[in-house]
Symmetry: C2
Subunit: 327 residues, 2 copies
């Protein structure tokens, strides 16, 4: 099978392609080719049992999506997006990439016709929800985003459902939890500290905690995020019905519980590298974020995430640190 | 004040403009000009205390919205849409008019800049909801449309909220109940019978009831629909917050209750003109429609509808039949 990954140079895209390279198959079918599209060139995994093609293009430009779809990939994983902060700072760019880009993709698929009906996996976000909400957000809660990014993702969900209902493709939307522990270097995203306070201390480096340790949030590991993509790509969509986007499972815990988990897994010396430096701005932003979900439908449909924060930390140590850390 | 009505030749647009002509003012401000845009020429009310300008244009064409917004109307009432059946039959046309047209309008307003921030009233629909739903749909229930029309309206709601949040305009979205009794001649809309079985018998003409009289639905009169527009155009939006679209109040009743109300208002002879001719196709379509709502927010914010179906019939007799009917 031929798999097209849009946003293939990003963290989740890269990890998904690495998993395909490791498995060699998806849902029992041999992967013959992976096309990784992004605005920068995606690197090929170390060893690939399939043809790997990195395409640099901008899907928001009329005609670019058609070029990608011309080869009729069997599976399209759409991870490409301008992130929340940038979509808020640059209104035009956010709508161009996140809305027009998605619509161009869906239209390009529709216009192939002739019985072409690929699986399309669309990554949405819990940013489709806007405060005030219940402590535990149910599957039937309404989407009232408070960012342009969340608005664009919610629109993508609606389009995905309508194009699937009309039979133009077979879509599954997945709302990812905050991916934690995010590998790499600390970034300035307001959510960065959730990962920083685990990743940096395990590397022997101090990390700043800018919020109260009573802040509660919704997490899943990068490994789980890849697992969601694999399941969304291979599941029987007959069971989903017309409500095509699902809130993915995750693990809800407070920062205090994150720290306690780190203590259990890595010890007091590692925890001591977390420095509390309250930042009222970040505290204010985070106060408007969802804290917990009751993702019944996704669980019933077989999506799985970690069931403790210790497990999330162990996954990070296994997948990113070769099983070891700085004591 | 200058008011721009998009879709001004339609039934609700026409009645809204007639009310403006009668009142001469809106929210205490004298109406100096009304521009009625549509794809066909809107007729001027019999007597207007303001300048009336009918513009024939297609907002889905790039640049047309800019022309309409160039004069900086103080209030924009956006009623223009391809209806549900046509949006389902013609995928491209539905998205072009209902989505691109709305986006062009919003973008045209945004691009004026220089402190221009008009009130924008956007008419949405209960078609944003898709079965299965609760018997009484709450304000926080999610929108999972089962038609392209409902999808396009739900996207319009999201854009309205984001453009309002960003300060580009001051938007209020209103989800209209089924407007009943709809004046004019019977049409082939699946929902037509809700009005036909009242309007035609009052005119001395037989009408077909194609569904069980146990079918429950959600109604408001054309007069109430105009009242919603007036209130949405003049209310203090400070009280709305970022959740800009509201499910309008209405009256929920079964067809049997509609018929009973007609009996009370007009007598047995009129009711005898309703002929029961079951149509399983229409029965099937109607089974997927919302039956009842709990529109708490709209009620708290001062929107009002009829509180009985008898009242809905009396409004029809007053507004459309000069107070009389064929016994």
């Amino acid at each position: 099978m031929h798999i097209l990954v849009l946003g293939g140079a990003g963290m989740v895209g890269r990890k998904f392609i690495e998993r395909l390279a490791r498995d060699g198959e998806l849902g029992g079918k041999t992967v013959s080719k992976v096309t990784a599209q992004d605005v920068v060139a995606a690197h090929a995994p170390a060893a690939t049992p399939f043809i790997f093609d990195a395409v640099v293009s901008d899907m928001s430009i009329e005609g670019e999506a058609e070029v990608l779809i011309a080869s009729r990939p069997d599976l399209i994983v759409h991870l490409a997006a301008i992130v929340s902060g940038e979509a808020e700072a640059d209104f035009d760019k956010g709508y161009r990439i996140n809305l027009d880009g998605t619509r161009h993709l869906f239209e390009a698929i529709r216009k192939v016709g002739g019985g072409y009906k690929p699986r399309v996996v669309f990554t949405s976000s819990i940013a489709v929800f806007g405060a005030p909400f219940h402590d535990k957000i149910e599957d039937e809660f309404f989407t009232t985003p408070l960012t342009s990014y969340g608005t664009q993702k919610a629109i993508g969900e609606l389009l995905l459902a309508d194009y699937s209902r009309r039979g133009f493709f077979d879509g599954v939307g997945i709302r990812l939890p905050t991916v934690c522990v995010r590998p790499g270097t600390p970034n300035k995203a307001a959510s960065g500290f959730f990962s920083n306070i685990i990743r940096e201390p395990l590397n022997g480096i101090d990390a700043v905690l800018p919020v109260s340790d009573q802040v509660r949030h919704w997490h899943a590991s990068p490994r789980s995020a890849v697992g969601f993509l694999v399941h969304a790509a291979t599941m029987d969509t007959g069971a989903i019905g017309p409500r095509r986007t699902l809130t993915m499972p995750g693990y809800s815990c407070t920062v205090a519980e994150q720290i306690e988990a780190l203590r259990k897994v890595a010890g007091e010396g590692v925890v001591a590298r977390i420095k509390r430096v309250p930042d009222p701005v970040i505290d204010g932003i985070v106060a408007g974020w969802p804290r917990n979900f009751n993702p019944q439908r996704a669980l019933q449909l077989g999506f799985k995430a970690e069931s403790s924060f210790e497990e999330i930390i162990r996954v990070h140590i296994e997948d990113e640190l070769h099983g070891t850390f700085v004591k």
